[in-house]
Amino acid sequence: MAQIVSLAEAVERAIHDGDAVAMEGFTHLIPFAAGHEVIRQRRRDLTLIRMTPDLIYDQLIGAGCARKLIFSWGGNPGVGSLHRFRDAVEHGWPAALEIEEHSHAGMANRYVAGASGLPFAVLRGYNGTGLETLNDDRHEAPTIRPITCPFTGETLTAVAAIRPDVAVIHAQRADRAGNVQLWGIAGVQKEAVLASQRSIVTVEEVVDDLEPRPGAVVLPAWTVSYVALVPGGAHPSYALGYSARDNDYYVAWDAIARDRDAFTRWLDESVYAVPAGQS
């Protein structure tokens, strides 16, 4: 059953060194404040899982929290590169980063398999691509393999389930019992929470009653471990109905992330020097 705690307490209790952590939110509702708290608490050797690493994982990778990244598109949307991610892959700074790479369709289905309690999911995908080759017989621990349909004999693609230790998401609101409600672009957050052992949900507000909303995703309190009240906790991403995506910030991030010193200064001033939930 969900416990309503502070952000610092949620991260302290749910996320440990070496954990596989999925912070999800597809452009919308990205849990930035929780990511910053993971940096502040100096977690190490994390396996970071996310379809679009976005600025949030650029920051965690640059801060030295990650050992491995599982992802499907690592760019700054509409702007260009994630320079901290590139520096880690191209030059091993601040540490070497192991990568496990998929397409969006593959990652989405891996979460669906995890949420469904299945070892894999099936899709039409990857045929003829370099990602298929990276997972062929010559490689250990593949996560993309051909599978034959038992009914038609057709060859399809199986992708291995993702089962993170912890899912972290941001939502518009929760009630005092810890039931969570989110709407707008809903990404893979439901699947990520249901696939994970533990979960943290930061929210814009805690309300007495969750008024039903057509099309909203509801995560009942008994599927969530911790709820923390963090208004604005998705910035520079956004929470539909509460804030707009700060596109200027995404554009400005390019120059900060391009330079190791500028990034290190940003970490000191905008994360380490700031209390939990206020960055």
């Binding site: 289905n109 039409r124 003829g128 990602l131 539909l240 200027d248 995404y250």
Partner: protein, 270 residues
């Protein structure tokens, strides 16, 4: 690539435009009213939104964020800007957009960009140089592109043409065009027809009906076949008489510039 060229050599209307604008307008013209279009961000998104603002008001824009039938009045910066969700006919989850909508072949056209592309329209957006584990340049990766390239009924690629982007062999096959030639898509079980056009800042390429090798079939006003060959890393085929494509009309330019102005104003004053 942003050099100004005159669309009106006689100077009657004093109309000038950039090569990027010509590319975006040409890409927009390939979309017909009422089509469903799976849109990648950047140049493809600008072209798809321009088509909807001009000749194809009923164009259905579908973004991988799960927004179906989005009608943004300004160009979004990302595929998940709030304006896409607020104006969409439906907003679905990411597993649903790929499994229910893209995979079964419901979508007419996929609009993609590329970092590298070869003569068979295979696309690389993953790594350049070195090897996969130690690349010279790490690009963003696949995103939705491999399955868009596989499953949309057809694909249009929008990419600036340089010797670095138009390569003899891509360093990594992120998304499959025609593989190594005729028969490969069928052998791989790819259900869509594959890339029908590559639109660049010089002109338009289409696959040769027999060899499937991309061939220049159209050039922008003032661009020579020799210039296109010079900016290509393989021995580029050119049609016997490539069409000289019409420059942007004043209405097309107005609509494009107004979409872009509104997009950047929204960024500066959220």
């Amino acid at each position: 690539m942003t050099s100004q060229v005159s669309a009106d050599p006689a100077g009657v209307n004093d109309l000038t435009y950039t090569a990027d604008e010509m590319m975006t307008v040409t890409a927009a013209r390939t979309l017909r009213d009422g089509m469903t279009c799976f849109v990648g961000i950047g140049l493809p998104s600008a072209a798809a939104n321009l088509a909807r603002a001009t000749h194809a008001p009923g164009l259905v824009l579908i973004y991988e964020s799960g927004t179906i039938g989005a009608k943004p009045a300004e160009l979004p910066l990302s595929i998940g800007d709030g304006v896409l969700a607020e104006t969409a006919d439906a907003v679905v989850s990411v597993p649903e957009i790929f499994n229910y909508w893209l995979q079964p072949g419901r979508i007419d056209v996929g609009f993609l960009g590329a970092a590298q592309i070869d003569k068979f329209g295979n696309i690389n957006t993953t790594v350049i140089g070195g090897n996969y584990s130690h690349p010279s340049v790490r690009l963003p990766g696949a995103g939705g592109a491999p399955e868009i390239a596989a499953s949309c009924r057809e694909v249009i690629v929008v990419v600036r043409q340089t010797v670095r982007s138009f390569v003899d062999q891509v360093d990594f096959v992120t998304s499959v065009g025609y593989g190594s030639g005729p028969g490969d898509r069928e052998r791989l079980g790819l259900t869509g027809a594959g890339p029908k056009k590559i639109i660049t800042d010089l002109g338009v390429l289409e696959p040769d009906p027999d060899t499937l090798e991309f061939t220049v079939t159209g050039l922008f006003p003032g661009v020579s076949a020799a210039a296109a060959k010079e900016r290509t890393g393989w021995d580029l085929a050119v049609a016997a008489e490539p069409e000289v494509l019409a420059g942007p009309s004043p209405a097309e330019l107005d609509a494009l510039r107004s979409l872009q102005t509104r997009g950047s104003r929204q960024r500066s004053h959220p």
